[in-house]
């Protein structure tokens, strides 16, 4: 493998990591601050992508679609919070898992009824339609760089929000000891609603940003949800910084793993066996990483102190 290819693969890994971060950030906020397991986070990502499609069909502009999808994602999240999730905060995790799983089934079916089962897509906005020549026959779409940029932007925004603002302070306090925060006269329910709405909007944003490069189809969030949980478990539940670092880590390990394991296996094994073993190991790598991290640091890389 040449140095250029390695550099390209690293860039690819970063980009996958950033996409994972966009999804995991909302999940870790909701899980960490509200101690609420929201399996429906994946379908909220899907909803964002579908709303981007709908917005694009209505207006013909990516930017209008972005705005439209963000607003409707937020509203849909608040509606779900009001109708379903609000009633589950005091229940145990199993009830939350069951109810949010129901939301997955419902929304997956709903988008199929509304938009049909066939995959859809949104074109890349003109502004980012170009590409860079990375290798002599491989171009790197500028849009992917924009995706990385937007992920870093969201990370920075979250960092500032969580560490530098009053609401961020409340969120951190709520994550550590919600009862105490409530006792100090903070409307914890409203705080939860804001966090939840923001979390859904982040999931929706990830969906919107993914729509031009990935296929928009029912169930598109289900696989990513598992990865997002891996990210937040490795990063430490509730930690934005942890989610950021572990998302990049997983993006890199997964991408480089897919690229390298078969080659490495070929050094050691006959080609046919290497073709079996390489991909199998590549698909296990992130879970091996998770097991390793949890063995040494059971509450993740950046555990959030809990009372």
């Amino acid at each position: 493998m040449s140095a250029t290819l390695l550099a390209v693969q690293t860039l690819n890994g970063l980009q996958l990591g950033v996409l994972l971060f966009l999804i995991a950030a909302g999940l870790t906020l909701v899980f960490g601050v509200m101690d609420f397991i929201n399996l429906a986070h994946g379908v909220q990502y899907m909803l964002g992508a579908y709303l981007a499609v709908a917005g694009y069909q209505l207006t013909g502009s990516f930017w209008a679609a972005l705005l439209f999808a963000l607003v409707v994602s937020l509203l849909a999240g608040l509606a779900l919070e009001f109708l379903v999730f609000r009633h589950l905060y005091d229940r145990d995790h199993l009830d939350q898992v069951l109810a949010t799983f129901g939301v997955i089934l419902f929304l997956n079916e709903a988008v199929k009824v509304i938009w049909g089962a066939a995959p859809l897509s949104v074109p890349i906005p003109d502004l980012f339609d170009g590409s860079l020549q990375l290798m002599d026959n491989l171009r790197y779409p500028v849009y992917r760089l924009a995706l990385i940029g937007s992920g870093l932007g969201v990370a920075l925004l979250l960092y500032v929000l969580v560490t530098r603002t009053r609401i961020g302070m409340l969120v951190r306090a709520g994550a550590t000891n919600p009862d105490m925060v409530a006792a100090l006269g903070v409307n914890i329910r409203r705080l939860f609603m804001i966090v939840f709405g923001f979390g859904t909007m982040l999931a929706g944003f990830a969906g919107i940003m993914a729509a031009p490069i990935l296929s928009v189809e029912p169930g598109m969030g289900d696989n990513l949800l598992i990865l997002a949980f891996v990210v937040i478990v490795i990063g430490g539940i509730g930690s934005i910084r942890g989610a950021f670092i572990s998302a990049l880590l997983i993006g890199l390990v997964d991408t480089l793993g897919r690229s390298l394991t078969t080659d490495i296996a070929r050094l050691l094994l006959p080609p046919a066996a290497a073709n079996d073993v390489g991909p199998a190991i590549a698909s296990m790598l992130i879970y091996i990483l998770m097991a390793g991290v949890l063995f040494f640091r059971p509450s993740g890389l950046f555990p959030v102190a809990r009372s």
């Binding site: 980009q15 491989l138 992917r144 490069i213 073709n275 390489g278």
Partner: protein, 385 residues
């Protein structure tokens, strides 16, 4: 009392069943209609129902009732539902089935119940080979064949180095084995991806680095959409010909659109095949459902037309022996032109190199050249009926 009642109920059911069976036909249609691959089942079902509808709801002159059942892509659920169709609904025949794993689960029970079974998509090798049955007829292909088309084409074009890529599961490995059967060049790299993979940038960088003469891939459903879009965005489309099977067709083109234009696939059907049946099918399908038909829709449509033709030949007699003998002769005009049944009752048909095009604003596949003429599958020899 209870006994008397149930006996009464049984006789009424029997009476109504026999009364119904005199001039009506009941078909159980199994298709995957939920989950991400539902679009394949939808195309196949719509094609079949169009075939029934065009005959005013009568196949071979018999009032036809089609019981469409969703297998949820779960072999166990499919099995339960098929048993319900056979035992409770007493269907005269079964048709449909998108996925091979579902087919393998329901095949035995259906043919052991001596029920005629018209497969409209899945064609796993055991059914075409050793496990073939006089009750089973296919209006699609044996699973390997569309991949073989691409292998043959790559050889004809003189491609010396080809990268092959498929998801890491049985159908992916079968696809690559099928490609290799008629490909004589070198396999420059063999890439197996995760099933359900979203981002192919790592694989595409590898392909760019390998600089092959062409790539061959089998990436069904949403994976294919992701791959096609990213292949185009990575600028590989211009330099490296893209050969595929079950990746670029009318089920994925609405999502890939311009990014797929110019990509190749192997198929037994395309929208521009020049025969009267096909012209009518493509026009009617669009008018009825508002979207362009795919090969899955064509197979479903042909299944209905095959049943219609066979019943016409028997004069509406649906007794098994007469009907099976009639089915064997394939008494219908297939939308793919040449069509006859092989010894294993899979089609002998032509296969084409097809290309995605934008035709008057609609994205469809069009046949570019014929790769195989009157081709049967590789497993027919081991079928003993």
């Amino acid at each position: 009392m209870k006994k008397v009642l149930s006996a009464l109920a049984a006789t009424t059911i029997l009476c109504s069943a026999s009364a119904a069976s005199a001039e009506s036909l009941k078909i159980g249609f199994l298709a995957t209609l939920s989950g991400p691959p539902a679009v394949l089942g939808q195309h196949m079902r719509d094609g079949f129902l169009l075939g029934v509808k065009e005959n005013d709801g009568k196949l071979g002159g018999l009032d036809t009732e089609v019981l469409v059942v969703d297998d949820e892509l779960k072999p166990d659920a499919a099995l339960t539902k098929v048993q319900g169709l056979l035992e409770r609904d007493k269907v005269d025949m079964m048709a449909g089935v998108v996925f091979s794993n579902v087919m393998m689960a329901v095949y035995k029970p259906v043919i052991e119940a001596e029920t005629i079974f018209i497969g409209a998509n899945a064609g796993p090798s055991p059914i075409a080979g050793k496990g073939c049955s006089p009750y089973f007829f296919s209006t699609s292909w044996q699973n390997d064949q569309n991949h073989e088309v691409m292998g043959k084409y790559a050889t004809q074009k003189g491609y010396k180095r080809v990268v092959v890529m498929a998801p890491n599961y049985q159908a992916g490995k079968d696809a690559i084995a099928g490609f290799k059967r008629h490909y004589e060049g070198e396999i420059a790299d063999e890439v197996y991806t995760k099933l359900g993979q979203l981002d192919f940038s790592a694989e595409l960088a590898r392909i760019a680095d390998t600089k092959p003469d062409a790539i061959f891939t089998f990436m069904p459903g949403g994976m294919g959409v992701n791959l096609v879009k990213q292949y185009d965005q990575a600028g590989l489309k211009e330099g490296i010909p893209f050969l595929s099977a079950f990746t670029v067709d009318e089920t994925t083109l609405p999502a890939t659109q311009d990014t797929a234009v110019g990509l190749f696939a192997g198929a037994q059907w395309a929208s521009n095949l020049d025969n009267a049946a096909n012209a009518k099918f493509v026009a009617d399908f669009k008018a009825e459902y508002g979207y362009a038909p795919s090969l899955y829709a064509a197979q479903g449509y042909d299944a209905a037309r095959l049943i219609d033709g066979a019943l016409e030949r028997t004069g509406g007699d649906k007794s098994k022996d007469a009907l099976m003998a009639a089915l064997k002769t394939a008494p219908f005009e297939s939308v793919r032109g040449d069509f006859s049944f092989n010894t294993n009752q899979f089609p002998v048909q032509d296969f084409y190199l097809v290309k995605a095009v934008n035709k008057d604003g609609a994205y469809v596949t069009e046949a570019v050249e014929k790769v195989f003429d009157d081709k049967g599958d590789a497993y027919a020899e081991s079928c003993r009926m």
